[in-house]
Amino acid sequence: MAKIIDDETMENVCLLAKLSLEGEEREAARAEMQKMLTYVEKLDQLDTEGTEPLSHIFGSENVFREDEIVNGNQKDAMLFHAPRTKDGQYHVPKTIG
């Protein structure tokens, strides 16, 4: 039996996903997620005992290179596309009281 997506779980998922779904949209999202979780539960039928999880097909090794600046200072070009800026910096709402 798949995990039932109750109000509390839904709230936690929205918090993690940084989304605020309300009313109908929230109910539809819940129903779809429930359907999907019930479907993926099929994986429970697959015996994975003793199998190591596989993230990278070609293995994951650290890749090093010299930390050299190759692109120059693009501060103005980057700030130009920000939704709000102030004094040459990104402008966001107050974060500490």
């Binding site: 779904l21 993926v40 070009a77």
Partner: protein, 490 residues
């Protein structure tokens, strides 16, 4: 021959032989765009003025011996999740509606070095999440064979552009079939290369362990030539492989004697449309006539590939899409109370339904208490799926499959039931989970006159085996009609 009917290699040969100019090729593309784009809507942005300027530059460069490659002067379309410096890159999402990157993808540098002409950015499913191009925030793209149908997705704009003659070739990206499935639906050819073969630098990430950029073209030879241009190690992408590259290409007219092809019998289970089944069986027969050995075998993990794929892809998507928060670029909600509320409102208003659905599923499967049961379980399933493919490739040179269980659905039919839409990815997602190369090429038409794709899957680094088999298949099949000749008139 009408210019827009030429393949990319034919066009560039004519340019090199000075029978036509680079601008002629560009003009043929914009003539088709003027004629068809209103109905097809393959593009989100067009660079007409730049393209003509660039054409002059390339013309000179060819004369001076700067551009000597086989694709010099060829106009190409680029999927809108690949960054071009100074050009809007929206991923067909409201949240990136006005994002103009200050850098560009490695593949774009390579196209420019090859003397290719950028025509525009193509429509796609939002953040490449979807199978129809209908999740785009900027309107649907239609199928050039029949505009009542979808082009497939997520690289639907790229494939529709090539099919409609609105580009000679295009770049797409493939995370779970996003090059191969729309190629099949639009009657064009597409390659998903071995993971790590093409740099992902400048490709807006959806699921980083699965994403790969690849070519879309009118035939295998064109795709092989484009793959040659874009493949190669790039130190800006830490997953880019230091792979010794072969010359991607073919040996036309070669038969397939001694080649062994395997077909998973589970792929023939019910749920496949009759037109797809008939074309697939006829394609197998054609390969046998070419001297290949074709046999069925059992691929027991088939039923687990979609659950494993959607858990892994959604998990990676939820993590990758965290960066869209309304601070540094793109859209920000107009009203909010404090920082966290700004993130939430921006994302809730900026992302479409399908994207939100996957971010939520991904957040859930990675969350404390469920990580082992879902995400880790999916990674274990992936290991088992990969092992089964490894074993199959000990026996077979190539695995054959349909591309999708159906041809292009009608517009507006697929998004009503997301799970049903996901199930249509049954033949494509395992390739991404296992990092394998695969090619989708037209096999035939179904009873309604819609293209049916044929898929060849190779072992890692087996692109040339696929190119050889696909070329032999093409030669035997004969030239596939273009949408203009074979489809419903627009």
């Amino acid at each position: 021959m009408e210019l827009s009917q030429m393949t990319a290699l034919e066009l560039s040969r004519n340019i090199r032989e000075r029978k036509i100019s680079v601008s002629d090729g560009v003009e043929s593309v914009f003539a088709q765009i003027r004629k068809k784009e209103k109905k097809i809507h393959a593009y989100l942005d067009l660079f007409e003025e730049d393209a003509y300027k660039r054409a002059e530059q390339v013309q000179k460069g060819i004369a001076q011996g700067i551009y000597t490659g086989p694709l010099a002067g060829v106009p190409i379309a680029v999927k809108d999740n690949i960054c071009i410096k100074g050009k809007k890159t929206t991923c067909a999402s409201r949240i990136l509606e006005n994002f103009i990157p200050t850098y560009q993808a490695e593949v774009i540098d390579r196209l420019e070095q090859a003397g290719m002409i950028l025509i525009g950015k193509t429509n796609m499913d939002e953040f490449a999440m979807g199978s129809t191009t209908e999740t785009s925030a900027f309107g649907v793209t239609t199928n050039p064979w029949n505009t009542a149908h979808v082009p497939g997705g997520s690289s639907g704009g790229s494939c529709a552009a090539v099919a409609a003659g609105e580009a000679y070739m295009a770049l797409g990206s493939d995370t779970g079939g996003s090059i191969r499935q729309p190629s099949a639906f639009c009657g064009v050819t597409g390659i998903k290369p071995t993971y790590g073969t093409v740099s992902r630098y400048g490709l807006v990430a959806y699921a980083s362990s699965l994403d790969q950029i690849g070519p879309v073209g009118k035939n295998t030879e064109d795709c092989a030539a484009l793959l040659q241009v874009i493949a190669g190690h790039d130190q800006k992408d830490s997953t880019s492989l230091r792979r010794e590259l072969p010359k991607f290409g073919l040996t036309s007219g070669e038969d397939l004697k001694g080649m062994k092809f395997g077909v998973p019998e589970e792929y023939m289970a019910e749920g496949m449309e009759e037109g797809v089944r008939n074309t697939f069986l006829a394609s197998l027969k054609l390969l046998e006539e070419l001297g290949a050995d074709v046999e069925f075998f059992s691929m027991k993990t088939t039923e687990y590939v979609i659950p494993a794929y959607y858990i892994i892809a959604s998990a990676e998507a939820s993590s990758n899409l965290e960066r869209f928060d309304g601070v540094k670029y793109g859209f920000r909600a107009a009203e909010y109370k404090g920082l966290y509320d700004m993130y939430r409102k921006t994302r809730t208003q900026g992302f479409g339904k399908e994207v939100k659905r996957r971010i939520m599923l991904g957040s859930f499967v990675l969350s404390s208490g469920y990580y082992d049961a879902y995400y880790l379980k999916a990674l274990k399933a992936k290991a088992i799926i990969k092992k089964e493919f490894d074993q199959a490739f000990e026996k077979y040179d190539v695995i054959l499959a349909p591309v999708a269980p159906h041809t292009a659905p009608k517009l507006g039919e697929s998004l009503k039931d997301p799970l049903a839409m996901y199930l249509g990815d049954i033949y494509t997602v395992a390739v991404n989970l296992c990092a394998l190369p695969a090619i989708s090429l037209p096999g035939g038409l179904d009873g309604r006159g819609l293209p049916v794709g044929f898929q060849m899957i190779g072992p890692c680094f087996g692109e040339n085996t696929l190119i050889r088999a696909a070329s032999a298949f093409e030669n035997a099949r004969g030239t596939f009609p273009s949408a203009e000749k074979g489809g419903i008139k627009i």
